[in-house]
């Protein structure tokens, strides 16, 4: 097959890779992108998007179940709700299908050549792709590694059969009667909550002594309460030993030494994700590592000239929007623009019930950084809109410097609060002070009023609490 030469080769068409390629194409950079599966990567195909679809379906179903059980304060009644999970999955697949096709057409529109196959480095400028029709050699002036991440497997619980990863969970066509979830990070909790709502008896096993270890307990408490309300058993400080000999249960040992046998039809292992640093010929290169990740600098350059890396393969936080921002930046750098990573904050969202958002520093982080801080927290129980949504759980919390009121971080927990991440992000990125937020008119009646009120609270004069 004839060799391709290009100015930019992107390996991996996940959110980081495809954004990088589109932006490069826009800038007139001769760009090729290689993807071995579908464009969109984990995010679009087996991650963010499908999980949110299932979470939403589960949410609606749970509400209907509550209505049928006569537990609806608004007086809505329903009879015999049922869910056809296969149909739910087909609906979800329709969404991901539209999105991946959208990405393909955006790439084409930007003039990016798409090569389907598995890429492997031959040297720092040459990559060989195994395609359906044979080997395609691509020579590129610049190469961006955007290989992403994959679920971590536990040695005693290898994926297969009953043991599934998040990918497997997102393609189940029947609701498991009993679901054991290993790992109480955000993926385990999002999916565990969703299946609990779909009717599974869910047990979550976590080795640490708390859920969502990346968030403080104030933020996770509403989630813990919701888990309890849904009858989800959460075993903290509990170590997984493996499946039972007949394969019908998960064996674990609690912190107090008690052996537990958790009957399960499916065992969902969500103990984190690992960067994909193997399988693409890293051994042919001289790339410095940063722990298990590829080492990059503030321009996403690796230790080799002309080789960049973006996204999950480069480190925490492993979030699609971080990868996208890196991809965009790298494309601009390659096109000759002067750029470097200068973001003040990367918002993080948990689509649990209720949702959690965190932008910038938490109070603990700010204190650890030696800051004198002011904190303002406003509960949704005092927010009119939240009441009308039956969503009074949660709050917005703002963390600011005590001396000049510069906002260091904003966190919140509550129904639908993921959409407030935009406001929080802008505030931190623009360098807003408490007065800027308090001085911005927030529309009434919206949940966002809690944001302005939290700033007022930090300033010592909240109006509605």
């Amino acid at each position: 097959m004839k060799e391709i030469t290009c100015k930019l080769l992107v390996i991996g068409a996940g959110p980081g890779g495809y954004v990088c390629a589109i932006r490069a194409g826009q800038l007139g950079v001769d760009t090729v992108i290689v993807e071995m599966a579908k464009p969109g990567g984990t995010c679009l195909n087996i991650g963010c998007i499908p999980s949110k679809a299932i979470i939403h379906a589960a949410d609606d179903f749970a509400k209907t179940v509550a209505m049928a059980a006569g537990r609806n304060a608004m007086g809505i009644k329903a009879d015999n709700p049922a869910i056809d999970l296969a149909k739910t999955m087909a609906w979800k697949d329709g969404i991901t299908g539209r999105l991946t096709m959208g990405v393909s057409s955006l790439l084409k529109k930007a003039g990016v050549k798409i090569v389907v196959g598995r890429a492997k480095f031959r040297d720092g400028k040459t990559v060989a792709v195994e395609t359906e029709t044979g080997e395609q050699v691509i020579r590129a002036e610049n190469i961006v590694i955007a290989t992403g991440s994959a679920p971590v497997e536990l040695p005693m619980l290898p994926f297969g059969g009953k043991v599934i990863s998040s990918t497997g969970a997102l393609s189940l066509t029947e609701v498991p009667e009993r679901l054991a979830v290993v790992g109480a990070g955000y993926i385990g909790l999002e999916l565990g909550l969703a299946f609990a709502k779909l009717g599974s008896k869910v047990t979550i096993v976590e080795a640490l002594d708390r859920i969502l270890p990346l968030y403080d307990t104030q933020l996770t408490q509403p989630v813990a309460r919701r888990l309890a309300a849904l009858g989800v058993e959460v075993l903290l400080g509990t170590k997984v030993k493996g499946p039972s000999s007949n394969g019908e249960a998960l064996l674990a040992k609690t912190g107090s030494g008690e052996e537990r046998r958790i009957a399960a039809d499916r065992i969902l292992v969500t103990v984190g994700r690992k960067p994909v640093t193997e399988g693409w010929g890293r051994e042919e290169l001289e790339l410095d590592m940063d722990g298990r990740f590829l080492r990059i600098d503030e321009q996403c350059r690796t230790s080799m000239r002309g080789i960049y890396a973006i996204g999950d393969v480069t480190g925490e936080p492993m979030l699609a929007h971080r990868a996208m921002a890196q991809g965009e930046m790298v494309a601009e750098i390659i096109s000759g623009k002067r750029r470097s990573w200068d973001k003040r904050a990367i918002p993080a969202v948990c689509f649990t019930d209720p949702e959690i958002v965190s932008v910038g520093m938490s109070p603990d982080e700010a204190k650890a950084a030696g800051r004198e801080i002011k904190i303002g927290q406003f509960p949704f129980s005092a927010n009119g809109r939240a009441m009308t949504l039956s969503a009074e759980e949660g709050f917005v919390r703002v963390v600011a410097r005590a001396d000049n009121h510069l906002v260091l971080g904003i966190q919140g927990v509550g129904a639908g609060i993921s959409e407030l991440s935009a406001a929080f992000g802008i505030a931190v990125e623009m360098g807003a002070r408490l007065e800027d937020i308090a001085g911005t008119i927030h529309a009434h009646p919206t949940q966002s009023e809690a944001f302005a009120e939290s700033a007022l609270k930090a300033l010592g004069h909240a109006l509605h609490v």
Binding site: K337, R338, R339, S340, D342, R401, N404, H405, L406, E429, M430, G431, R433, E435, D436
Partner: protein
């Protein structure tokens, strides 16, 4: 306590207005007697307005570039102590009681007029005029912008601009809330960097744009050039002149000159040749009043010599070149160009020419297209003198060659006349003895 009103003085020539070209004081400044308050310009001359009193500036009118009517109050100075002038007496004309205290023109008006007769300050270089102002602000980036370890705080749009301009935001002070760096802070930093502080290495695009207000002499020049080029259809005629003989003569004359006498340049030879040629073609030594439809041919040959000064182009005039011998011409050129450069040329020394010479000396290039000094009808451009090979019929010989690039107003001077004039100059200069032949 009383206030002294400082008015825009009548700077002579019946000019009813003058352009404010420089403020030397701000409101709140304390001024001493004789301290220069402002500079105004009429024609091509700048007049400094010194303070007649000691006091504090309380009010100021007009911005640089404004054209202000004579007699307008431009400053108010509060005078400390007793016995000061009231507000009203100054408002009246003919306040002859007050003596001009210093050489530079001083209020009151009448005294100023007298002073102007004697001397018009001509465009001193700026550095000399600069008076440190107590109101002057510290540069925006003075000192460390923020405490050690503090990261610069800037919105993404400012960060992007800084990056594209190659600015390290750690160097930029922030004046916004919480020390936030605003677009204005970045502008100020860029300006203080002279349009683009390079922090990173390598070649960088400089996207700075500096606005320079066209005021004062520059504006006068701009207006005159535009007027000349818009009204006068120029015809430019270039001829080369063999200067070898003239150069030999000139070297000899300089060598045998009495010490202390002005050295002869090419210019006085050219001037004398022009006098001679113009005697035969008086239509070229003329001013064309196109509105009246009259060409005024002058008997006297008043030759303007375009001269570059630190402030810009001026044209001092050698009057009655026809009545000056070559040494007199040389002396006068030297004197006037010194005066122009030092800013001491008198108003009448800067006007009244009937024809102009433009010379860039050693930088004169091969050809130029001189712009006629309106309303004159001709300008003679002197190009660089250089040794060039010349074919004498049997061989190449080195000759000192020089081009003359001369422009004429084609409305009143035809190409034939222009060529005739330049050919006459050529003949005279190639055989310089002819310049000195009395007819």
């Amino acid at each position: 306590m009383a206030e002294k009103l400082i008015k825009l003085p009548d700077v002579g020539e019946g000019v009813a207005e003058a352009e404010l070209v420089e403020w030397h004081v701000n409101v709140g400044d304390l001024v001493r007697e004789d301290m220069v308050l402002a500079a105004v310009m009429t024609g091509k001359a700048t007049v400094e307005i010194p303070s007649p009193v000691e006091g504090e500036v309380t009010w100021r009118h007009g911005e640089v570039g404004d054209v202000i009517a004579t007699g307008t109050v431009i400053l108010k100075i509060r005078i400390a102590g007793e016995g000061s002038d009231g507000e009203e007496p100054e408002a009246e004309n003919g306040d002859r009681g007050e003596e001009p205290r210093v050489k530079p023109a001083v209020l009151p008006v009448a005294a100023l007029e007298q002073a102007l007769e004697k001397k018009v300050e001509f465009l001193k270089p700026k550095a000399e005029m600069a008076v440190p102002s107590p109101m002057a602000k510290a540069p925006p980036h003075a000192g460390a912008p923020r405490a050690e370890g503090e990261k610069p705080l800037a919105p993404p749009a400012v960060r992007l601009r800084a990056k594209e301009a190659g600015i390290d935001l750690r160097q930029v002070a922030g004046t916004g809330p919480a020390g936030r760096i605003t677009h204005e802070d970045l502008d100020a930093f860029l300006n203080s960097q002279g349009g683009g502080g390079a922090v990173t290495a390598g070649l960088q695009p400089n996207k700075a744009v500096q606005e320079v207000k066209v005021v004062g002499l520059r504006r006068r020049i701009a207006e005159k050039m535009a007027l000349s080029k818009s009204r006068i259809p120029h015809i430019t005629y270039v001829e080369e002149i063999d200067m070898t003989a003239l150069e030999e003569l000139r070297t000899r004359m300089n060598g045998t000159q009495k010490p202390g006498r002005t050295k002869l340049t090419i210019l006085p030879f050219l001037m004398r040749a022009m006098v001679k040629a113009l005697g035969e073609q008086p239509g070229i030594n003329a001013l064309y009043d196109d509105e009246a439809g009259i060409v005024r041919q002058y008997g006297g040959v008043h030759i303007g010599i375009a001269a570059q000064t630190p402030s810009g182009l001026v044209v001092p005039v050698v009057k009655h070149a026809e009545a000056r011998d070559i040494f007199d011409c040389a002396r006068e050129v030297a004197r006037l160009s010194d005066a122009a450069k030092n800013g001491t040329a008198l108003r009448e020394e800067l006007s009244g020419s009937t024809i102009t010479i433009s010379s860039l000396g050693a930088m004169g290039g091969i050809i130029s297209t001189p712009v006629i000094n309106h309303p004159e009808v001709a300008i003679i451009g002197v190009n660089k003198l250089a040794v060039r090979p010349h074919w004498d019929g049997t061989q190449f010989v080195p000759r000192k060659m020089m081009n003359l690039s001369s422009s004429f107003d084609h409305r009143v001077v035809d190409g034939w006349d222009a060529a005739t004039f330049v050919q006459r100059l050529k003949a005279l200069m190639e055989t310089p003895a002819l310049i000195f032949v009395e007819e």
